[in-house]
Structures are given as structure tokens and as C-alpha cells.
């Protein structure tokens, strides 16, 4: 059964100092309700919007990263609708009509070996937030409105319906996330900084819009649920209605919206108080010159440092991890070794709950780049073996101690000198006489003895030196 999925991604430009049309701080998180507001973002009578030019540049950077075309002139439109979280009862956004387009159109983004077309990128203001006294609309007698978020710059990315598989959607969203993080314009770890609505239809049914998905991780779940629901209906000849459904985060299902979703007429028209924004060719040229390194280029660079494509991808997908890697590789020039430690070992300590919640995956880990560089040095010097290094790492992520200090203090360093090793070998030989007899003829029994020596030294013995001593003592 053919499935079509299109996405509308909202990305707050958290990297900006101020809101889109007033000087209030862009960072509203942690403020007392309605404290992060001014007459302009509250829409008080007589106030006028003042466009944040830097926000236009940030939106332009996303536009370029998504392969879109930037017009020479763009405009802001009013989208008129009544809702309590909108101070002016209209939203300032962009609109494509009569030869005027939003900041970006007609793009394409490659991800893995696939690609999706981008219909448009637009800059708009975030509304305020409704806070339900009882936790949800159904359980509340009243609702509170917090305008702290009202006017925060949002970039909306609209794709063509080019996806058929929720797994592809996840990969695409990860790529977008990595791009905005690399551009330094959005901290995707912040709650509500990235949101995604999705349109889904299966052959034989109507288009259903899923709203209220507040983390990228849940988009895949919502899509899988919705596809199963629609396919089941179509196969039983039940009509799939064109409707908007909400993602119920607690029950992990999509629900019919209780509010009447009438066909809205937003009565778009150009905002008279914000003159059209002349971008010209210089805007695009200047932006192109100032773009930071994007994920694709960075991945290629990582590969040129000797990393496998897979390892490089894992690092790039999370800018935090990629930055961690680069810092560590600067301290110790063993990129491959460092990357392997990050991807296979350090990731094991990541709190899955943090990751699920979309928060910084490294927030709970006390080991920094210097720790990993130090650890790699210990292994490469032969000071500790790999197994010991793993134990050290487990301790270091908890305490933040330097690996070399841990190694020194707990005497986990490798025993390589013949004196100490000789004692261990002697002890094993006297404890295992039959194995010693056997070993003279059977090479497999030699390994048994070596294992015993390792056990005796709690893994600290240098296996090569120990084996040599065993052979010497056996006189073989």
C-alpha cells in the first residue's frame, strides 16, 4: 500500500539574542510567566514590529544549507486567526503569492543515500503558550496563557511528500537537526526548540495531519501508529477522513482533535508595518561566505582523518559528540582510536532517558575530551591494556578523575617487569602441577596457564611477557 509522508518542521532560532520583532530576550526558558514580554510582543495598542535582521540571516543560512533558492526580495504577511496564545490575533509569517516568496523555496536535502525535496523555508513568530491547569484540555477547568514565548523567531521547513518510510523520516530529521546545530542557530536539546507536524496518507485514503509532536524521537512513533491505523481502515473499506489529529504523548497514540477544525481562511495580506526586505544578490553571496562547516563537509573531513564512514556518521549526527571528538583529537593525535572509544565505549554510558527526552546526551558524563585523550594515551603507551582501560573509563565517567591518575593510584598498570610477573608465574606453576605437565606436550594447555596468570594478576599482567616467562619455565 503506497504511503506518502510530508513534514513541517519548526525550529526556534535559539542562537539569537532577541525576539523576531522586539528587543525581548529570545531565551524565555526559566522566566516567570509573562515576564519576558514588552508592549510590542504583547501586541499592545499602537506598538509596531521591528524586524530582527540577524534572524533573517539565520533563516537564510538554513535556506542555503537545504539547497533552497533565496529571492532578491521577501515580505512578511499576516496570518489572521483567533487563538488565545496569539497576542495580536494574527501571526506574522511569510507567504508565497503574487510573485513574492518566503526566504527560501525549491530545495533538496540528501540524507544517507536518499533525498527529499524542500518546498519552502519561512521565517515567522512563535505564539505564546497555553498552560492547562489540570495538565490537559480535558482535565482542566481553566487555562493560563504565558506570552514569554510570543515573538520568538521560528523557521518553518516544509518538505514535499517524499517519504514513505518512518525510518527515513527519522534519518531526515536527524540530518536537519545536525545541520541547524552545525549552523549554530538552534540548540535542539532545549525543550520545544524543534517541533514537527506530519502529513500522512495511504493509497485510497485522505490526508491526515498529525500535530503536537514535540520531539523528533516521537515523530517516527506517531507515523508508525498512524500508518497502521490508516492501512487497517483502508483494508476494511472504512473511509480515512481528512482531518487533524493530535499526538498523545502519554498514551503514544494519535487522537482526533476535539476542537472543531473548520476550513480556516487565514486572510493573508502583506504586513504594512514591515517594509519588504530587499535581500539582493549580495545577501546570498555574503551568507555563502560566512557559512560554518556543514555536516557533509565535516563528515568528509573526518573520513580523511581515517575514520570509517559509519563512525564518522555517528559522530556527525550529534554535533556535541563530533565537537567532543575534535577536541580530544587535538589533544592526542589518534583520531581513529579516539573515535572508536567515543562511538563504542563512551556511548554505552549515555543515559537513554536523556537521549529519549532529546536532551544533551553527554550532560550526565563527567569525562571530557581531555579524559578520553589521556585514556587513549595510556592504551597506546601500553601502560594499561584495553580491558583495564574500559574499567578506568567506567570510573572516570562517574568521578571526572584523569585516567592516568586512576591508573597510578589503583595500581592497575600493566605488570611487565619479570620480577613481579615471575612471582605470579611461580605461584600458578605450583598450584597447577597437572596442567604444567600437560603443557609440555599440548600448546592449548599453555593458554590455560596464561589465563591463570592473568587471573592471578587481576588482568594486569602483560600477556606477551607472561607467555614468554611461562615458556621459559616450561623449557619449550
Amino acid at each position: 500500500m503506497e504511503v506518502k509522508i510530508g513534514l513541517e518542521i519548526h525550529c526556534q532560532l535559539t542562537g539569537l539574542a532577541s525576539k523576531l520583532f522586539c528587543p525581548c530576550p529570545c531565551n524565555y526558558r526559566g522566566s516567570e510567566p509573562n515576564a519576558n514580554t514588552c508592549p510590542v510582543c504583547l501586541g499592545l495598542p499602537g506598538t509596531l514590529p521591528l524586524l530582527n535582521r540577524r534572524a533573517v540571516e539565520f533563516a537564510g543560512m538554513i535556506t542555503l544549507a537545504l539547497g533552497c533558492r533565496i529571492p532578491e526580495e521577501t515580505m512578511f504577511y499576516r496570518k489572521n486567526y483567533f487563538y488565545p496564545d496569539l497576542p495580536k490575533n494574527f501571526q506574522l509569517t511569510q507567504y508565497n503569492a503574487y510573485g513574492i516568496t518566503s526566504i527560501g523555496v525549491d530545495g533538496k536535502l540528501d540524507y544517507d543515500d536518499k533525498s527529499a525535496r524542500i518546498r519552502r523555508v519561512q521565517l515567522e513568530e512563535d505564539p505564546g503558550r497555553l498552560v492547562y491547569e489540570g495538565g490537559s484540555m480535558e482535565k482542566s477547568l481553566y487555562v493560563l496563557v504565558d506570552y514569554n514565548r510570543a515573538g520568538v523567531p521560528l523557521v518553518e521547513i516544509v518538505t514535499e511528500p517524499d517519504f514513505a518510510d518512518p525510518n527515513d523520516v527519522r534519518d531526515f530529521l536527524n540530518k536537519v537537526k545536525s545541520i541547524v546545530e552545525h549552523l549554530g542557530i538552534c540548540d535542539t536539546n532545549l525543550e520545544g526548540a524543534v517541533r514537527c507536524d506530519a502529513n500522512v496518507s495511504v493509497a485510497g485514503g485522505n490526508r491526515v495531519e498529525i500535530k503536537n509532536v514535540n520531539s523528533f524521537a516521537d515523530v517516527e512513533k506517531a507515523l508508525k501508529y498512524e500508518m497502521t491505523r490508516q492501512k487497517t481502515m483502508v483494508s476494511r473499506d472504512i473511509e480515512v477522513k481528512a482531518e487533524t489529529r493530535h499526538w498523545d504523548d502519554a498514551r503514544k497514540v494519535t487522537k482526533e482533535s476535539r476542537s472543531k477544525e473548520e476550513e480556516q481562511d487565514y486572510r493573508y495580506f502583506p504586513e504594512p508595518d514591515v517594509p519588504s526586505v530587499e535581500l539582493g544578490r549580495d545577501f546570498t553571496k555574503t551568507l555563502q561566505g560566512s557559512m560554518p562547516e556543514l555536516p557533509d563537509a565535516r563528515k568528509a573531513r573526518f573520513e580523511s582523518m581515517g575514520l570509517s564512514s559509519h563512525v564518522a556518521s555517528v559522530l556527525i549526527d550529534n554535533k556535541e559528540l563530533a565537537d567532543f571528538f575534535e577536541s580530544a583529537a587535538k589533544i592526542r593525535d589518534s583520531p581513529k582510536e579516539i573515535a572508536n572509544w567515543l562511538v563504542t565505549d563512551l556511548m554505552g554510558f549515555v543515559d537513554e532517558k536523556e537521549k529519549e527526552a532529546g536532551r544533551s546526551i553527554l550532560s550526565g558524563i563527567k569525562a571530557g575530551p581531555a579524559h578520553i585523550a589521556d585514556l587513549v594515551k595510556l592504551v597506546e603507551d601500553g601502560t594499561v591494556n584495553r580491558a583495564t582501560a574500559k574499567q578506568i573509563l567506567a570510573q572516570v565517567v562517574e568521578t571526572g578523575e584523569m585516567p592516568s591518575d586512576v591508573a597510578k593510584n589503583s595500581q592497575v598498570t600493566r605488570i611487565g617487569d619479570t620480577g613481579a610477573l615471575g612471582q605470579a608465574v611461580d605461584a600458578v606453576f605450583s598450584a597447577e602441577p597437572s596442567a604444567v605437565a600437560d603443557a609440555k606436550k599440548n600448546p592449548a594447555a599453555v593458554n590455560f596457564l596464561l589465563g591463570k596468570v592473568m587471573q592471578q594478576t587481576k588482568g594486569r599482567a602483560d600477556p606477551k611477557a607472561a607467555l614468554e616467562l611461562i615458556r621459559k619455565k616450561l623449557e619449550i
Binding site: L44, P45, L48, P87, K88
Partner: protein
Amino acid sequence: MNAFITVNKNAIEQARSLDRKIRDGKDAGPLAGVAVGIKDNISTKGIRTTCASKMLDNYVPPYDATVVKQLQDAGAVIVGKVNLDEFAMGSTTEFSRHGPTRNPWDTSRVPGGSSGGSAASVAALECAVSLGSDTGGSVRCPASFCSVVGLKPTYGLVSRFGLVSYANSLEQVGPVGRTVADVASVLDVISGFDERDHTTAAGKQSYGAGKKRPLRVGLVKEFIEGADEQVSKIIYDAVNTLAKEGCKCEEASLPSVKYALASYYTIAMAEASSNLARYDNMRYGFDASPDGYEWNSYFSHTRGNFGEEVKRRIITGSYVLSSGYYGKYYLKAQQVRSIIRKELKSLFGKFDVLAGPTMPILPFKIGEKLDDPLKMYLVDVDTVVANLAAVPAISVPAGFAAGLPVGLQLMADEFCEQTLFDAAGVFESAANVRGSPDL
């Protein structure tokens, strides 16, 4: 006159502190001690700003409009907030929650509108000058009906930050005074680029009372032909006066004027329907409790408190913006607007100023035109052109017919306010029209 809605209780104290400043030999500003009235759709910090609407009955702004701050910095004393048609929608000041303002020359008649409080208070000597706002003639119409001077500046010359929007792309704050010199000195204070208003421009000059010079004056045929005979006679006399003062007067034609009213009302109502959406009584407004309402029904309930004329404009404006009609009405109105602008601009190649009556009729009785909104809209036919074309226009007293004032309207090219003051100033001193009503 019922010109004032709110009196500023701190005015006396502010005047005393200015007195002290002057006594101490400090600079008290170019408008030191000048009593100013402010139209009640201009934001004044700590003084309620009602827009003559129940919707803003209890609204006390936390900030000053740029023009208010500029006036205060120049030493002016704000004596109060003056009456208007609700949200500046009207041409008579009858559509006010606070009752109609009366014309000081005949209190049974309207003072014009929507800045009727501004013009009536200045004519009745209740204040020296007043700030109005002009979206389609709202400063010039009452200036004409009350026999005072009123200016609609070039769009972008005066900051709109703090002016409660009715139709953003058309309106400007404008001064009303008893003489051209008074109006020029207020404009000098309130004009110029404002970083809080993207639509302001750097085009400010230093303004003063008129200089006599041989200007080229075009009498707009369409304006004079559409006016009542009593009015047109006075305007012909006025043009003759200008000619005697050395101006070169000829007839001019602006054929696209016949589309101006339709274009104006379409654009103004469209913008108004969106601008007034924010008045839902959730964040500010009047006493009402949302208890027991679902939000949508609460909005309907509270927004039912707009006056009839405002409702009419919101509904019409919503209609012309709705999908399927946008191209047919709003976009077409914008196209007409650019044609008018082009036509007017080409006339300014030949003429320094264009002249005509400000109002095609004499001030009428209170209540006379209330029943027929379309008839009411028609009286704006001569004034809306300047707003559509973004050019400055001034109304200056031209004389009386049957004891009622007639105003001469002069228009000039963008940012040529001084040309208007020159022409109006010359006319003012030559015509010597009687200054104040008997009260």
C-alpha cells in the same frame, strides 16, 4: 463642546515645573508651556487611552507614543485626551462612546472627524494645538469644519509608534492649530526618523511659517466640480487670492479620483479588520469576566461591544481579504492606489501645490447622516487622495458660507511640507479669515 475624554491631572504640576525651569534660566524647549491636546488613539503612559471605544475603556498604556515623548521633551504640556470617532473610523466624531463632539461655530452641527475633539478644542481655545491622526482626512476634515489649520504629513515623516492602528499603510499623526505657524512649529518637533517605526524616513527639514514666493498652483477640476456651490465659490475666491499674491494659478485634472474612495475604503477596512483583531478583552480592555465561557464564545461576547460603524468596517474588511476575493478587491484597490499616485506625481512636475476644497459640503447637523453609511463615506472624496498617494496635505480656513466654515485644501509632493506652509501662510495672511467663534 465635549472635546475632551480625559483631563491630565498632572498638567498643572508639569506647568509649574516648567515655570521653575524658565525662572532658573534653563532651556525649557521650543514648545515650553504650550497646552496640547492628544487624540485619544495616541498612547500616553499612565493616562488612559480609550480610542473612544468600550473595548479600551479601562486601558492605561505603559508607554508613551514617540510623538508624545517628543512633545513633552520640547516642553509642551499635555492637558488631556480628546474625542474621536471610535478607533478613528468616521468623519463626524459622532461614533464615540463618550458622545458626539460639537462644532464650536454652531453647536448643533458636527465638528467633522475623526479628529473632531482636536479641531473643536483648538477652535474653542481649550488648548493651543492638538495632535490628530489622518487616515483618509481625519485631521483635515475637522480642521475645515472648525476653521482651524490641520496637516496630514507625508507618509513616513512622523512616527506612528504609539498611534493605535486603524489602517497602517495610510495614516499619519498630524498637528491641528489655529495658525500655519503653530502647525509648522509642532511638525518641527514631531517629525523625523524613529528607530521604533520601520516606515519612518529621513526627510525631515526645519519647518516654519510661510515665505511668500511665486508658487505654481493647480486647481483640481474634479474636486471643485464635485463641491456644493457655496463651498466652490469660496474656493474660487481663495485661488484668486493666491493669484493676487503672485502665484501662478491654473486648472489641473486628476481623472483617477473617481476610483479613490473605493480604493481607500477597501484598503482601510481590510487593514482595520486585522488591526482590530487583538481587542478580545483578554489582556486589557473593560470589566468582564471570562468565567463560564469557552474562549471562542468569550471572544464573540466581548467583541460584540464594538460600535456599529467599527463592526461594519471589520466585517467588510474581512470580506475583501477572504480567499477568492483578495485579488478581486484588495489587490485591485492597491493597483488603483498606484495609478492615483502616478497621476498625482506627474502633476507635481507641473505644479508646486494642488488646491481644492477640503470638504465638498458645509458642516451638517449632528445625526443628519447617521442612517446612511455610504453617504457618510462620500464626504471623504477630496481628502483620501493624499493618503492613498502618501503625499502631504493641509487644510487652511478659507472663509464662511451661511456662517459655517469652509477649508482650502492644498497638497504638495512627498516631503514638501514647507511648500505647503509657504502657500498656506501666504493665503492665511492675505485672506485674514475670522479667527474664533463667539462662545
